[in-house]
């Protein structure tokens, strides 16, 4: 196996460049949130709705949409949705025609960063002559690439620019963590990792983590938005004006549920592929190795999340918390478990 060191150096340079470019897009996204929500408020100006009066009809959240449409005209019931309409973004998350120059710049810069980042990952793979996920540095950088890729792909269908700050911020953090926390020179794979299952198992795990990163960001926004919605419905002045650009908590929850369902399917597959690989390498498919314990914990937390959505009293804020807890477990699994706990997965010695 030949290691091409020059290419490896190029890869590191690209990675650095990508991190800086993401940082620029992060700033642009943040700028968009700040400036655009201000612009929105300005446009509404004095015409802002009289909140207290509107709430007097007794808000019945989640009343069947059909019924409310009928009755609204006769002044009986108003749904929370119509009441929140001026305060949150469109639930369909479609693009509107408004001009958001900062957001456009942010997306364009992020695409550029993604290209440079992809170049960094690919050159690393070529330099090492294998798939670029054989150690922590590589999991982190490839994972960040997937996060950015999933996010940019999702932008094609939906206007998710409101999570851009969080997503680009997380990507910058991942790249910094890789470069500062786990710097590793380009090298060949140890025998334990030389298997097709590495390609399958790890790529799906990285993809699942990428999806969970985005739903994590959405869950955080959902909690903030839910808090703000309660203020709106109570007739108070809602804070956090940037959340005007963000759809309602319910809409965020619906979309993140669908993404989490895909992520959960991926994670299920990761878990099973890991078991198959373990069976081939170590002779048992499940042995409660530290890494296996945490993979299992994560799987169970997201299974609980799937159930929470179907359980009375567990939708909304609580299920957002489950999504956040699941993601924290993923972070923990990746950082602490990989570095602190010893186990078969630490590949120490033979």
């Amino acid at each position: 196996m030949n290691v091409n060191e020059t290419l490896g150096t190029w890869s590191e340079l690209f990675m650095l460049l990508a991190a800086m470019t993401y940082l620029v897009s992060f700033v642009a996204f943040a700028w968009d949130l700040a400036s655009h929500s201000k612009a929105l408020r300005g446009a509404e100006g004095a015409g802002e709705r009289e909140l207290v009066g509107a709430a007097s009809g007794g808000a019945s959240r989640g009343a069947p949409a059909g019924g409310s449409a009928d009755d609204a005209g006769r002044g009986f019931r108003t749904t929370a949705r119509s009441e929140l309409a001026g305060h949150v973004a469109d639930a369909e998350m479609r693009y509107t025609g408004e001009r958001r120059p900062a957001a456009r710049v942010a997306v364009a810069v992020m695409v550029l960063a993604f290209v440079v980042h992809a170049a960094a990952v690919v050159t690393r793979a070529v330099a090492a002559d294998r798939v670029p996920w054989g150690n922590m540095y590589e999991f982190c950088t490839s994972g960040a690439l997937v996060v950015a890729g999933v996010y940019l792909a999702a932008l094609l269908a939906k206007d998710l620019r409101f999570v851009g700050t969080l997503v680009s911020g997380l990507v910058v953090i991942m790249l910094c963590a890789a470069t500062i926390g786990f710097p590793t020179p380009v090298g060949p794979l140890q025998p334990a990792l030389q298997s097709w299952w590495l390609v399958i198992h790890v790529s799906i795990a990285v993809a699942a983590s990428g999806i969970f990163t985005i739903t994590f960001a959405m869950a955080v926004l959902q909690l903030l938005q839910a808090h703000r919605e309660r203020a709106v419905l109570a007739g108070e002045r809602p804070g956090m004006p940037f959340l005007r650009l963000v759809p309602s908590a319910q809409a965020l929850e619906n979309l993140s549920f669908r993404l989490n369902a895909v992520g959960f399917a991926f994670w299920t597959f990761t878990l099973a592929a890991g078991a198959i690989w373990a069976e081939q390498a170590w002779g048992r498919y499940w042995g409660w190795d530290t890494k296996e314990v945490w993979t299992f914990v994560i799987w169970v937390v997201y299974a609980a999340y799937m159930h929470a959505r179907a359980t009375r009293g567990w939708t909304g804020t609580r299920s957002a918390w489950l999504s956040i807890v699941g993601y924290l477990c993923i972070i923990f699994n990746f950082t602490v478990v990989n570095t602190v706990f010893a186990g078969l997965h630490s590949y120490a010695g033979v």
């Binding site: 196996m1 290691v3 060191e5 959240r61 989640g62 069947p64 949409a65 059909g66 019924g67 380009v186 090298g187 060949p188 140890q190 025998p191 334990a192 030389q194 298997s195 908590a249 319910q250 929850e253 619906n254 549920f257 669908r258 369902a261 959960f264 399917a265 299920t268 597959f269 099973a272 078991a275 198959i276 690989w277 081939q280 390498a281 002779g283 048992r284 498919y285 499940w286 042995g287 409660w288 530290t290 314990v293 945490w294 299992f296 914990v297 169970v300 609980a304 159930h307 959505r309 179907a310 359980t311 009375r312 009293g313 567990w314 939708t315 909304g316 804020t317 609580r318 186990g343 033979v350």
Partner: protein
Amino acid sequence: MSTSAPPSSSGPSPGTSPEPPRKGEPGVELPSLGPLGMLRWAWTQLTKMNTALFLLLLLAVAAVPGSVFPQRIQDPTAVSDYIDNNPVLGEWLDRLQLFDVFSSAWFSAIYLLLFVSLVGCVLPRAAKHWRAWRAQPPRTPRRLERLPEHRAFALGGRDGAAEPAPDEVVADAARLLKKRGYRVAVRDAGTAAPSVAAERGMWKEVGNVVFHLALLGVLVSVAVGSLFGYKGQRVLVEGESFVNTLIGYDSFTPGTNYDADWLEPFSLRLDRFEAEFNRDTTVPQNYGAPLDFTAEVTVQDEPGAEPRQEVLKVNQPVEVNGVKSYLVGNGYAPVVRVTDGNGDVAFEGPVVTIPTDGVYTSSFVLKVPDARPDQLGLVGLLLPTAVGEEGTMPRSVDPGLANPQLILSSYYGDLGLDSGDPQNVFVLDVEPLTELNAMMSSNGAIKLDGANRTYELPEGKGTIEFLDVKRYVGLDIHYDPGKTGAFVSFLAAFAGLLMSMFIARRRVWVRAARGTDDDGRPTTVLEYGLLARGEDPRLHTEAERLAELWTEQWQSAGVRETGGAGRTTATATPAGTPAGNE
């Protein structure tokens, strides 16, 4: 599942009332219940969705200590070390089964309850679905405009075309829906307002049931494996054979119900072992890292069978009738001969050493209980590629065998092997022994290499000769009869999961009735509504698709969207329609 409410698109309001009163739940008033009633009550509680959720979260939390404390299934020595270092805490942790989390009473209780809950939840659900499958799609609601998606079209009137008869409209709609994968039932045919009820996505629920039951299958398979499987370990030096019998193993752990008579009578000889190391110096940190391990073995399925050559690698076990042998370790086994003080050969053969670092500096322990007049003990290091000037401590600089050297200390005395207490072959307790020579003592360590192969022990205690270095492999041998079942169950679970998550279950109702349009001309109003069961982001798109279908079907007669049933004379509850909706 009687008590949970899967969210439909018009689902329960989030977080308004965490504990709403539940309908149709028998026996919640406790005091009046007898033992049977108590049982039923417990069962109802257990099979609630809330309970399942709680148990799942509990399971996740309960698994965590299994990664915090050392576990006996992983590393029994780490557990005894832990207990030695923390005697009080350790004993308590042990009492709470925190070193055996995954076989502990409490962990088992959680997952068993969870699976009981699962069965109690899923079987009734499966039965209900079975009935739903055989029954017709549900009756047409009286007020279609209450459904999350609802539209109405006026048919007829284009270029003087007559309006189609309601019965024909309904029959055509039924045919179109059927083609789109719905199962359909025509209702109230021949009345003023016939309708068709249609439903699709029945496989979604099947997927859910299969998924949950397959999880049970995984559990059962794991249980089968731990009852009727076994695992064992064996270190095998080049040239040696392993015969699959109890005495062939260095360690053997049978499953709870495994009988050692069932061992497959195969044998396996290690012919050659080869390790390849990284010699690329461009990145110094990676120099000497292992690249590839290959063991060439000869396998005989049973005594007298045709021997076959196989290659054993790290990710490539050798299988004989379901028993798999894995390459899990390797190292060097220097071959030495020890002649005792009486001049007899007391030991001759390979000594398995344990690598302690990346360049295979290996620790060597040899106990020679047969030496006379005194038993001998030797400890030290094997350096595969030794370097070091005179007077400095030699060290190994490469994992390969360029200049193998043995550096040993020797002892004599009673090794304590006759006491009957089990001893670790890789550890020599020098406390009761007398030192002959050592690194630190005046006569220095024994140093043996290619140039100096023989060393005379002081005080005429004997001679040690360094003959050769062989390689050895560490084998894990596993038999798990539950493996196939677990794999098949997983496949079923995964298929079920995908079905359950990505099939949309929807209902459509179409009703047709005569009416008049805004200009008072006669027309037939086709009114339809859609309802999703569970998550369905595409319900609106489906409504759109159906609109396209109707338009295509009746465009020559004329199709116009109307604001809804209210603007036509066709009422939603025409006379003659049996009011059959709940």
